[in-house]
Each structure stands twice: as structure tokens, then as C-alpha cells.
């Protein structure tokens, strides 16, 4: 008889990290709200105290209880595509500052779409995607700028 495999248990360190960050945020809120008027500070201080209590409780729980490693692994799985997308969006925002909304959006659409595909690209498919990008972005941009009179 084979012994049943017990799932590997790990400590919930992401949860603990957030608990610590929340506690620090709460302390900051407490310090800032000391300068507020009475009524402007009531709620923020109440929430900050609640956060401290909750963060402490969460820290204790993550120290005591273990969770299945699969839960944490799947939670923390973020591969290079995710990092790539974050970088693309960051570039998109920078480009808006320097090149304007429209060009930046075309770039963003193109790059984000390129990242989204898990199978390799052929040149033809890439070309179609570039065309789709320009058309889609133009359509949306026109709708917003002229249909909704948004100032760009």
C-alpha cells in the first residue's frame, strides 16, 4: 500500500507581506490625520486602528497556519508576459506625454497584442495585427474625440 501523498504546506508569506504593508500604511494615516480637524479625522483614524488590528491578526494567522503550496504557487505565478505587459503599459503612458495619445495608443495596442499570443508569429499575421491595431485605435479615438467631444 502506498502512503497517500500529503499536499506540501507552506506559510502564506504573500499574505504576511500585505499585512505588514497595511500596518505601515495605517501608521502613516494615523500620523497624517493628527493634523486634521476633529470631524475630518474620525473616520480615517477609526479605519487605521481597525487596519492595525486586522493586520496583526493576519500576521499571527500566517505565522501559525500553513496553506497548501499549490495555492501560493498559482497565486504567485506571473510569468514574463505579465512583466512585459506592465512594461508596455508604462511605455504607453510615457509615450502619451511625448508623442500624444493617438500614436502612443497604436504602439500600446500593437505591443500588448503581440505579447498576448502564445504561439509564434508569422510575418503575415504580424502585418494583419498591425493593420488591425491602427484601424481599431483610429476608430476608438475618432469616436471619443469627435463623437464624445473629449479633449485630447
Amino acid at each position: 500500500m502506498q502512503p497517500s501523498e500529503a499536499p506540501i504546506q507552506r506559510y502564506d508569506w504573500p499574505g504576511a507581506l500585505v499585512a505588514v504593508a497595511s500596518a505601515l500604511l495605517a501608521l502613516y494615516v494615523l500620523r497624517e490625520s493628527a493634523g486634521f480637524s476633529l470631524f475630518g479625522s474620525v473616520f480615517p483614524r477609526a479605519v487605521a486602528f481597525a487596519m492595525l488590528a486586522l493586520a496583526a491578526a493576519l500576521l499571527v494567522r500566517t505565522a501559525i497556519r500553513k496553506v497548501p503550496a499549490s495555492a501560493i504557487r498559482s497565486l504567485t505565478r506571473a510569468n514574463w508576459r505579465t512583466a512585459g505587459l506592465i512594461a508596455v503599459v508604462a511605455c504607453w503612458m510615457l509615450l502619451v506625454r511625448f508623442a500624444g495619445f493617438y500614436p502612443a495608443s497604436v504602439f500600446g495596442f500593437l505591443a500588448a497584442g503581440a505579447l498576448a499570443r502564445h504561439t509564434p508569429w508569422t510575418l503575415r499575421e504580424l502585418g494583419i495585427h498591425a493593420l488591425v491595431s491602427v484601424v481599431t485605435v483610429s476608430a476608438f479615438y475618432a469616436f471619443f474625440a469627435y463623437g464624445l467631444s473629449v479633449r485630447f
Binding site: 504573500p14 499574505g15 507581506l17 500585505v18 497595511s22 494615516v29 497624517e32 490625520s33 486634521f36 480637524s37 470631524f39 475630518g40 479625522s41 474620525v42 473616520f43 480615517p44 479605519v47 481597525a50 487596519m51 486586522l54 493586520a55 491578526a57 493576519l58 494567522r61 497565486l75 504567485t76 505565478r77 506571473a78 510569468n79 508576459r81 505579465t82 505587459l85 506592465i86 503599459v89 504607453w92 503612458m93 502619451v96 495619445f101 495608443s105 500600446g108 495596442f109 500588448a112 497584442g113 503581440a114 505579447l115 498576448a116 499570443r117 502564445h118 495585427h129 488591425v132 491595431s133 481599431t136 476608438f140 479615438y141 471619443f144 464624445l148 467631444s149 473629449v150 479633449r151 485630447f152
Partner: protein
């Protein structure tokens, strides 16, 4: 009365009703575009129309947009408008399971029911309901917000600590900006852009959309499960009707909650649907299924949010006090048309008002075929679209939509930053819904609390203000029931086990 129905059915008014509803649905479906924005943009075009035509157009857009929000909520887990937040709780899980078409159909039917219900109430019960709405004061608003926040506890089964912590984080976001009470500049880091606070829609888009997109890009397969053999349109519709028939009580209760909350000035559509969802869950036979793809959740959320549209017109038309932000714009449009708003509106301009109400009724009924048609194509579109277009498409819509709110680039940066933080939090096991509840309900809870305190302080009796008013007591009872019910249920479930183990041990 009959001649008002007839004047609502003129070809021009009918045409406007259809066009405005369709436009509203499309606008509501795009994350970042809200009903308020659509109405604001289109109001000037209505100045050349007759007053009742203008009203029908604007109200049609409003009703359509509130309904349209369900598409993005169900198919992409992003509320198209704040009123559709609760639709994501069950709509998206259903879509992931392959029941997306069914979910959209249910949302359509529920929305039309809620809308028609509220317009009929508007027609028949406006004056008494307006008085009831006035009886809600700061304490009632505070307790309503608490009732909504208590939903956090029920949504966070098993992860109560993280849920509550998330709600606190959401509340903090709501505190940024110039405080209504006290006037302090809070947490603005000396940035003029933050003086107005964090716009709810901006926070909503960021908190919901960005984690979805960042998650989508890691998957190979499509996020929506499309069934191998999709059912025919008639079968899907039949199934949806069947579900609604089994949810009659939920349907009527949610539509009522939506109508009433819409009639409360300073409440709004989001709170209506959240409260209806909370109550539906509490009264259901299977509360544990809520949040995992229970159709009743969609019924509650969508019936209530369209209910707020008709409900919002009650104080607007009876008292000249707008029930929801789009109503304020519509009132302004009425003033430009030379219509004297205020308590004499029904008396002085009864013809305009009644024609408008019937026109709105017709537009809402028209939402049914429009919705079913659009729903079918929307579902097919999102289900079949390539990821290479879907992911950048969502990003583009959210960025443009956020920018369009106040033509502010700072808003876009805020949206992305909040979204990034939310994504990090989901990696640590936190859910988005509690954070959003904090953001939406925070201002109402805080203002209600401090205003009540000031009123109670002036009267020299603070506890009486919070605990001594009949409506407040009713809401507090609901809160206590809502918090205790799951405890009682789990207690009941354990009892048979203990008696069984005792009898086993005895053997």
C-alpha cells in the same frame, strides 16, 4: 391619460426611444463610459427638440446605459458602470463555466423587469414615495452604507481577515481629497490633481479591469468557456425565462429595493444593486452559491440597478431634487427648455411629464428585443475574439474611457496605479469586491456618520440619533440578521453530525 400614451407613440418619439436605448446600451457596455457622461455629452443636442422628446432621449440613454453595464461585467469581469458591480460577482463565474449567453439573457430580462417596475411605480406612487425618501436622513444613509459593507463579510467566506482588510484599504482610497466635513485636504500629497479625490469610476475601472487583463495574458486558452454545441437562441431564452420564473420573489424584492434607493438623493445606482444582492443572498435557499455563479445574484443586481432609474425620477419630478447624478443633468436640461421644475411640475407641465413617463416605459420595453439581440452578438464577439485583440482592446477602452471622464491624464495614471496594486493584492489572496465596496460606500458611511453626530450633538442626544429612529432600527435589524444568519446556518449544519457521532460512539 390615453392621449399621453398616444403622444408618446408618435413616430418621432418612438424613433428617439429606440435610438437612445441602443446608444445607451453601447455606451454602458464600454468600461469607463458611464450613463452620466453620455447624458452630459448628448444634452446640448436635445436643446432643439421639444421638451418631452428631449426627456425621452436622455432617459432612454440612461436606462440603456445602466443595463448595458452588465455586458462588460459578465463577459470581462469589469462593471461597465458602477451599478453593475454586483453583476460581476456571479455573472463572470457563469461566463467562465460556459453559461455566458444564459447570464446575459437573465440580465436582460431582469433589467427590463426592474426598469418597467420602477417606471410604473413612478407613474402611480410618486408623491407618497417621495415623502418616504425624504424620511431617510443622515443616520439612515450611514446604516445603509454599513449594511452594504456588511456584505464584505458574507462575500469573504473563509478569508474574513483579508476581506475586511481589503475593505479598509478601499475606505482609505475614499478619504483622499477635500473632505466634505471639516474641509481638510486629506492625503493629497500637495497634488492639485488629488484635491477632488479619487473618482469612483476611475477606481472601479482600475480595480476590476487591470487584474483581469494581467491575468488573461498568462493564459493560453480563452477565459470564456464556450460550449461545444451552443444552444439555439430560443432554448437559451427559454432557460432564462425559466430561471426568472423561479426567482419571482427575488425579482420583485430587488426591483423594489432599486426603486426605493434610486429615490434617495445622494445614494445612487451602485448602492441599490449592492443592497439588493445582499438581501437576495440572505434570503436565498443556497446562499453559499452566491459569488460562484448563482443566477439569482444577476437577477438581484440587474433588476435593482434598472429600478434606480425610474426611482431616481421620483424626487426629481415631484420635488425638483435629483435622485441620481444623471437626473441632475436632466433637470438642468429641463430648465434650459424653460420648464419650471419643482413641486409644481406635475401641475404646470403635466402633459410633458406624463408623455415622458410613457415614453420611458416604451423605451424600457424596447430594451428587451434590443438587449437580447445585442447580447447574442456581444457574447459571440467576446467569446470568439482573438486574445491579440481582446487584451489590447480592453486596455484601450479602459484608458480612453478613464481619460474621457474629466479629460485628465492624472485620472488614467491613478487608474493604472490602483489596478496594479489590486493585481498585487490578488496575488496575495485578496479579493477585489471588498476593496470596491470600501471605495463606493466609504464616502456615504463617513458623511452619514459625521452628519448624524453633528445633528445628535446639537440636540444633546447622540445615541438617539443613531439608534432611535424607526427606519434606522429596521436597517440595523437587517444588518444583525445578515451577520448572524450564516453563523446560525453553520451551527445548524453541525448539529446532525454531533448527534450522529454520539450514537456511533454509543455503539
Amino acid at each position: 391619460m390615453l392621449d399621453f400614451v398616444l403622444s408618446a407613440l408618435t413616430p418621432l418619439n418612438l424613433f428617439l426611444a429606440i435610438v437612445s436605448v441602443v446608444a445607451g446600451v453601447v455606451i454602458g457596455a464600454i468600461p469607463g463610459l458611464t450613463a452620466t457622461m453620455a447624458i452630459a455629452v448628448l444634452t446640448p443636442f436635445t436643446f432643439t427638440m421639444a421638451p418631452e422628446a428631449a426627456l425621452i432621449t436622455l432617459a432612454g440613454i440612461y436606462m440603456g446605459a445602466i443595463y448595458g453595464g452588465c455586458f462588460a461585467a459578465i463577459l470581462v469581469n469589469t462593471p461597465g458602470t458602477p451599478s453593475s458591480i454586483a453583476t460581476t460577482f456571479d455573472g463572470f463565474p457563469m461566463a467562465k463555466r460556459g453559461q455566458g449567453q444564459l447570464a446575459v439573457n437573465i440580465a436582460t430580462l431582469a433589467s427590463v423587469f426592474g426598469g418597467v417596475f420602477s417606471v410604473i411605480v413612478l407613474l402611480l406612487l410618486s408623491p407618497p414615495l417621495a415623502r418616504v425618501a425624504l424620511a431617510f436622513g443622515p443616520p439612515e444613509y450611514f446604516w445603509l452604507a454599513v449594511l452594504g459593507l456588511a456584505l464584505v463579510a458574507s462575500l469573504s467566506e473563509g478569508q474574513l481577515l483579508k476581506g475586511l482588510l481589503g475593505a479598509c484599504l478601499g475606505l482609505l482610497v475614499a478619504f483622499v481629497g477635500s473632505a466634505v466635513i471639516g474641509g481638510d485636504m486629506r492625503f493629497t500629497f500637495d497634488q492639485p490633481a488629488l484635491v477632488g479625490g479619487v473618482n469612483v469610476v476611475v477606481a472601479l475601472i482600475g480595480l476590476f479591469c487591470i487584474p483581469v487583463v494581467l491575468d488573461l495574458i498568462t493564459r493560453r486558452d480563452h477565459h470564456l468557456h464556450v460550449p461545444e454545441e451552443p444552444a439555439s437562441a430560443r432554448e437559451e431564452l427559454g432557460a432564462a425565462v425559466g430561471i426568472l420564473a423561479s426567482q419571482k420573489v427575488n425579482l420583485v424584492r430587488s426591483a423594489s429595493i432599486g426603486t426605493l434607493v434610486g429615490a434617495l438623493p445622494a445614494a445612487g445606482g451602485a448602492i441599490g444593486s449592492l443592497l439588493a444582492y445582499s438581501e437576495a443572498r440572505r434570503n436565498a435557499r443556497n446562499p453559499e452559491d452566491y459569488g460562484k455563479g448563482e443566477p439569482g445574484g444577476i437577477v438581484a443586481s440587474e433588476a435593482a440597478n434598472n429600478g434606480t432609474v425610474g426611482g431616481g425620477f421620483i424626487p426629481t419630478l415631484v420635488l425638483g431634487i435629483p435622485g441620481t447624478p444623471p437626473d441632475a443633468i436632466i433637470l438642468g436640461a429641463l430648465m434650459v427648455h424653460g420648464v419650471r421644475i419643482g413641486p409644481n411640475l406635475f401641475a404646470e407641465h403635466g402633459d410633458i411629464v406624463y408623455t415622458f413617463i410613457f415614453g420611458l416605459l416604451i423605451a424600457t420595453i424596447l430594451m428587451l428585443p434590443v438587449g437580447l439581440l445585442v447580447g447574442r452578438y456581444a457574447f459571440r464577439l467576446i467569446a470568439n475574439i482573438q486574445k491579440t485583440a481582446l487584451i489590447p482592446g480592453i486596455l484601450l477602452m479602459t484608458i480612453l474611457g478613464t481619460y474621457a471622464i474629466h479629460a485628465s491624464f492624472a485620472d488614467v495614471l491613478m487608474m493604472l496605479s490602483l489596478g496594479f496594486v489590486a493585481w498585487v493584492l490578488t496575488k496575495a489572496g485578496f479579493a477585489i469586491a471588498p476593496i470596491v465596496l470600501g471605495v463606493v460606500l466609504g464616502p456615504i458611511a463617513e458623511q452619514g456618520f459625521v452628519q448624524s453626530w453633528l445633528i445628535g450633538n446639537a440636540a444633546g442626544n447622540i445615541p438617539a440619533v443613531f439608534f432611535g429612529r424607526p427606519i434606522s432600527i429596521g436597517i440595523i435589524v437587517l444588518i444583525v440578521l445578515g451577520l448572524l444568519w450564516p453563523v446560525y446556518l453553520s451551527f445548524k449544519k453541525r448539529k446532525p453530525n454531533t448527534s450522529r457521532s454520539v450514537s456511533n460512539a454509543a455503539l
